[in-house]
């Protein structure tokens, strides 16, 4: 019988690239693309990064580790396997592929796990949904 009841508060958010790391505006369909990569005038500061940093805060007020914690990417691949920290707070800054938008978080005791889906919105903010 598990008596662990979460006063767990989980918040999650993503951060846009810091100022100057992202440049330019999205190209519109009406603008013809260059024929080859050599013809592209790459906007200053763009580093061809196909990932963006996303920050996930996992916080708990439990006095002890609340059990296993697993975080998965959209693909289902595990990026974190372990436990909520004894301190009650875990911050993951993670390079998420730009076209991916979700994390799945499973936490708590093995006999009473909880799941949470974190959605990274178009504004770069990840929101949790039970």
């Amino acid at each position: 019988m598990n008596t662990w009841k979460p006063r767990t508060q989980i918040t999650a958010f993503g951060l846009l690239l810091t100022s100057g790391c992202v440049g330019g505006e999205p190209s519109s369909d009406s603008v013809a693309l260059p024929a080859t990569l050599r013809d592209v005038d790459v906007q200053q500061g763009f580093r061809f990064e196909a990932t963006r940093p996303v920050e996930i805060h996992l916080e708990t007020s439990l006095p002890h580790s609340g059990g296993a914690l697993i975080v998965r990417r959209t693909s289902g691949d595990v990026i974190f396997r372990g436990s909520l920290p004894v301190s009650g707070s875990l911050v993951l800054r993670y390079p998420l592929p730009r076209h991916e938008e979700e994390f799945d978080v499973t936490f708590g005791p093995a006999d009473d796990p909880r799941s949470l889906r974190l959605v990274v919105g178009s504004d770069g903010i990840a929101k949790g949904a039970m």
């Binding site: 100057g20 992202v22 440049g23 330019g24 505006e25 999205p26 190209s27 693309l33 260059p34 080859t36 990569l37 050599r38 592209v40 005038d41 790459v42 906007q43 200053q44 500061g45 763009f46 580093r47 061809f48 990064e49 196909a50 990932t51 940093p53 996303v54 920050e55 002890h64 580790s65 609340g66 059990g67 296993a68 914690l69 998965r72 990417r73 693909s75 691949d77 595990v78 990026i79 974190f80 396997r81 372990g82 436990s83 909520l84 920290p85 004894v86 301190s87 707070s89 875990l90 911050v91 993951l92 800054r93 993670y94 390079p95 592929p97 730009r98 076209h99 005791p109 093995a110």
Partner: protein, 755 residues
């Protein structure tokens, strides 16, 4: 390792030649399966043929009436390319008249099909047929003798033969023989088993073989098909089944050796959750772990002892145990270890007959020596306890032979009594043998899930490293068991050809975290997949960690040869020169262009892994993985090429900036004047371009990605890919080497339980 005394005595016994009468070589068909067993058209047969050989086909469409069955009869042949063609059997070519109920001793006018190319061909009839015959001859001949095929060895095989005998009665029984080829652990070897039926009456039944029997947890047992998941099709055919001693018979050559290393994964076995066992095998075969959970001193799968079974490969293997015993109860934690024994077997063959109501006097499985055709007895096993009916006239005796087996040849597995009920009705009856075995023992500790063995405040169940107080979690980038890559162009500051394959370097990072979520260990797995370059280049890495916080760096090449490796301060970070020449990892001599030219063979590679231990825990953001992973000329270490947000190390020859086509500015280095970088980070393992093909010919969407500064086409490396412009195979086929990832227990390490 425990010496396999039982196995040794078995081997000696098994080669005692029995006095079974050798049957004359015959053609392939009803002569072996029985004229009263009509072949189901769902049976797919195979022949490995040489160009110019002739397949001679004769058959009668079978219906259980005495009237002429006049519907057309076809045989479909599918060639090695997958192209199928239908051939009609007529009374002038291949079709037996209705009056022919027994395979003739000679056939004057078989349907003859000459094959145009070498390869494996598939055949199937359009109707139930009996009698039938398929003979192979070297050249077309006006007539063939289906009873005496050329070569005298079996060539026709199927992975599943299906028959309809039309009755449960003894009149429909068959005394047929089948020859089953099973792997013997290594290339170029196999076992040949003679599946010898006497009085087998299944009405509608299948003949097939595999290495484990029914799927877990029912492996090595007979079961009713009503059990969830065990309906028709639960037994997965695996082995080739012949009608004569096969031309492919080789005989065994390997002796299995197994080492039971103990618990892998987290390193701990938990009450209620089980754990993962690691063992090493010198052969590919089957394994069975038996845990003496009732502590009676015997490893007995017929009791409450826990059993884990499966197939294994050469090298390290992991077996997962769910923590329950043979009766499904959780095995309690204990300070006294449980004894566990791991068996490694080769040549294992299961005949799990489907819906065979009667085998009387039964079936036997004996080995056949392909060199002498001699047959040899072996120990034969069954476990029919789950299908017993209580009727002594139907039930097998003994109901199980799991521990010691019975001598085949002189003993048969018998059940049923020629009626439609009995233990085999709508059930799988498994009979099995194996070639030889090895075993090894281990004392297995089972811990309480809620305890905290290493005292780090994290319970055993939640702790990825339950015996190491310094570690409790792992963070992976890009993910567990998954790699990403950096593509390098190596000519900067001279113009490149933009094929981004001068070095294709796959990476996976794993961070070992302590109970506070701070980093204690970093591991970096690197696999160079291609080097389409004339230059020799090394690999360097700058980590954003002060060098004084690093206590040790270990480098592993090809997962082995762990050795201490050097590091040095690089500004506020740490420089590790991973490898002086990437080509040292490619397993070839003298080839310049590696894995980018499809006219050259694929070259296999070794991986290189770093294990970086920290003297103090650090808070480290992983958003910048792979960090500053760069390449440098092996003969000119000052000629570095980095991802564009890094400016180079203190070794960098800064005089290169501003020369050639370099367009570097502050914060944006190693780019040309249009802003194109010479190193590209791709967050997945993808195709990479063929030699001298510009990367946008493989990834057309990268143009939109670049033109939009990364806001459009963000998945350019996986969508719209023109795969024919990527390197997918070398001149002899074979894909480029996949990234090699070492187990976390190897690279992160951590204190092992019990140490």
């Amino acid at each position: 390792m425990r010496a396999g005394n039982a196995a040794l005595s078995f081997v000696v016994l098994s080669f005692v030649v029995l006095s079974f009468a050798a049957k004359a070589a015959r053609a392939e068909g009803s002569a072996q399966t029985g004229d009263n067993q009509s072949l189901d058209p769902k049976t797919v047969m195979f022949l490995d043929l040489t160009a110019g050989e002739v397949v001679n086909v004769s058959a009668r469409a079978f219906r259980a009436t005495s009237t002429l069955y006049s519907a057309p009869l076809f045989i479909t042949m599918t060639d090695p390319t997958g192209s199928a063609e239908q051939h009609e059997l007529t009374l002038l070519a291949g079709r037996f008249g209705d009056e022919v109920s027994v395979t003739p001793t000679s056939v004057g006018a078989p349907l003859q099909i000459s094959v145009p190319e070498d390869g494996v061909y598939r055949f199937s009839f359009s109707e139930f047929v009996a009698p039938w015959d398929i003979s192979v001859t070297a050249v077309p001949s006006p007539s063939v003798d289906p009873m005496n095929p050329e070569g005298g060895r079996g060539r026709l095989y199927a992975t599943q033969w299906s028959f309809n005998a039309g009755t449960f009665a003894s009149s429909g029984a068959t005394d047929s023989d089948f020859y089953v080829v099973t792997p013997a652990g290594t290339e170029g070897s196999n076992y040949v088993w003679l599946l010898d039926f006497e009085g087998l009456a299944g009405y509608v039944y299948d003949v097939a073989g595999n290495s484990l029997g029914l799927p877990p947890p029912y492996s090595r047992t007979s079961q009713e098909a009503a059990v969830e998941g065990l309906g028709y099709g639960a037994f997965v055919p695996e082995h080739d089944v012949y009608l004569n001693l096969p031309v492919t018979a080789l005989g065994p050559s390997a002796t299995p050796v197994v080492t039971f290393d103990g618990v892998s994964g987290s390193g701990m076995t938990l009450e209620g959750a089980g754990g993962q066992f690691r063992f090493q095998s010198n052969v590919a075969g089957t394994y069975q772990v038996v845990i003496d959970t009732d502590r009676n001193g015997a490893f007995d799968p017929t009791t409450s002892d826990a059993v884990v079974a499966g197939s294994c490969k050469i090298g390290n293997n992991d077996a997962v145990w769910d923590g329950v015993d043979g009766f499904g109860a959780s095995v309690p934690s204990s300070n006294v270890p449980y004894n566990a024994r791991l068996y490694l077997r080769i040549g294992e063959f299961h005949f799990a007959g489907w819906d065979i109501e009667t085998a009387k006097p039964g079936l036997s499985i004996v080995g056949v020596d392909p060199q002498t055709d001699a047959q040899w007895s072996t120990q034969m096993f069954w476990d029919d306890r789950a299908i017993l009916t209580g009727d002594p006239n139907d039930d097998p005796a003994p109901p199980e032979t799991v521990l010691d087996g019975v001598a085949s040849g002189s003993t048969r597995h018998e059940w049923g009594n020629f009626h439609g009920a009995g233990p085999g009705n709508v059930a799988y009856v498994d009979t099995w043998v194996f070639g030889t075995e090895s075993s090894d023992d281990h004392a297995l500790e089972v811990h309480a899930a809620a305890a905290d063995a290493d005292g780090d405040g994290v319970t055993n169940a939640a702790d990825s490293f339950p015996c190491d107080p310094a570690l409790s979690s792992t963070l992976f980038v890009p993910a567990e068991g998954v790699s990403a890559a950096v593509f390098f162009e190596d000519l900067w500051p001279s113009p490149g050809d933009l094929d981004f394959n001068d070095l294709v370097l796959a990476y996976n990072y794993a961070f070992g975290l302590d109970s506070q979520g701070e980093v204690r260990v970093i591991t970096v797995n690197l696999t160079p997949r291609a080097a389409g370059a004339g230059y020799h280049s090394g690999i360097g890495l700058v980590l954003p960690i002060n060098s004084t916080l690093i206590s040790n760096v270990t480098r592993l090449l090809g997962g082995e040869d762990a050795a201490s490796h050097s590091w040095e301060a690089e500004g506020s970070g740490t420089l590790i020169r991973v490898l002086d020449d990437t080509r040292d990892l490619f397993l070839v001599e003298g080839q310049v262009i590696l894995n980018t030219d499809p006219t050259k063979p694929v070259v296999n590679v070794n991986s290189v892994a770093l294990r970086i231990e920290l003297s103090s825990p650090v808070i480290l953001s992983t958003e910048d993985v792979p960090f500053d992973l760069f390449t440098f000329r092996s003969t000119d270490v000052g000629h570095e090429i980095h991802l564009p947000k890094y400016h180079g190390t203190s070794y960098m020859n800064t005089g290169l900036f501003g020369t050639g086509i370099d367009g570097s500015i502050e914060g944006w280095w190693f780019v040309d004047r249009t802003g194109l970088p010479f190193a590209l980070s791709v967050p997945a393992v993808s195709l990479y371009p063929l030699e001298r093909l510009q990367i946008d010919e493989l990834f057309p969407n990268i143009i939109g990605f670049a033109a939009s500064a990364g806001t459009a086409n963000t998945d350019y490396y996986s969508e719209g890919v023109v795969s024919e412009n990527g390197f997918v195979a070398g001149s002899f086929g074979g894909a480029p080497p996949p990234p090699e990832l070492l187990p976390i227990s190897v690279v992160i390490g951590g204190t092992e339980c019990g140490s």
